[in-house]
Subunit: 154 residues, 2 copies
DNA sequence: TAATTAAAGACCTGAATGGTCCTGTTTCGG
DNA sequence: CCGAAACAGGACCATTCAGGTCTTTAATTA
């Protein structure tokens, strides 16, 4: 299915919502806004804080706020922070497959990984915000498809 | 991590290897070639057969062979056959998020899903074969990156 | 100093994936 | 005609890991 982990999903939602608030926001408040369970929100925020996406302020009247603008955060970077490196398969960077498969495809996998990574790096959290930005991204996709000519099958 | 399931990984390796043989090949033989455990190979081949990627021949002297050329199989189609639809997150096609998140980002996710899908559809199994085809795909990636200008963050 | 809130980490649970096996059914060879 | 070989199609188990909870500690403010 090639699906994203839910934590990464949450992380993106949380960041976007956090960007729409002003001042510091507590994790319970963000939980209320997003509908994500509070402990999970806290967990995600810790990770995001550790990776420099948000700034935390401890103590009374503490909370979180964005470390930089949404436009300066790519979807890829958030996913990488929460879930680790984006890699579709075990054999990455020329390392041998763990199972010792004689697949000989390791290099080719890297190509795919790079393609996916580039795609996600090209999408900022700013463009994830509802409505307005969608058309922009859609235009990108169309241009992207026009470029894609390697081949397609049924 | 956004990683591919191992079954889909195997499926691609098996198809590529199958394409390099001539005549029908038994699943034990493919297991030997790929290094994947035989029962697993058999399982994957059944799925691939059901989805029309390979043709099976039953009985003694039976085995499998490709239903069409590797160039006519996209990475995306194989993944979709083995793992189901490619979708990075729960909210797809405008459906509400199952958790009832008030994320309001559902539409934006679709954009990402489409982008990933297009990328993988642009890569054929033929181009997964070692060596020769890599340069071609790499050129694609570069062109693709040049097109991507939405924005990128740290 | 007391209350509030984030930081950090241990820990539990459950779903889902990967992997195995078993029982047909078909086809070829003797 | 019979047996072996090989696919078909399940059921089934086991392991992993993500997701979520709880507890303790530390910092900040009133």
């Amino acid at each position: 299915m090639l699906k994203l982990s839910r934590l990464a999903d949450y992380a993106i939602v949380i960041l976007v919502k956090l960007g729409e608030q002003d001042g510091v926001v507590t994790s319970p408040a963000l939980a209320a806004i997003t509908g994500v369970p509070e402990p999970t929100v806290a967990k995600v925020l810790k990770v995001l804080s550790a990776h420099g996406f948000v700034l935390s302020q401890r103590g009374a009247k503490g909370g979180y706020r964005l470390a930089r603008s949404l436009a300066d955060m790519s979807v890829a970077s958030v996913i990488a922070a929460v879930d680790g490196e984006i890699a579709l398969t075990a054999c990455v960077g020329g390392r041998e497959c763990d199972t010792g498969l004689s697949c000989g495809l390791c290099g080719s996998w890297d190509v795919i990984n790079t393609a996916i990574r580039s795609t996600l790096e090209g999408i900022s959290l700013e463009s994830m915000r509802p409505k307005e930005a969608c058309s922009t991204v859609l235009a990108q996709i169309n241009k992207l498809n026009a470029t894609q000519t390697v081949r397609e099958g049924a």
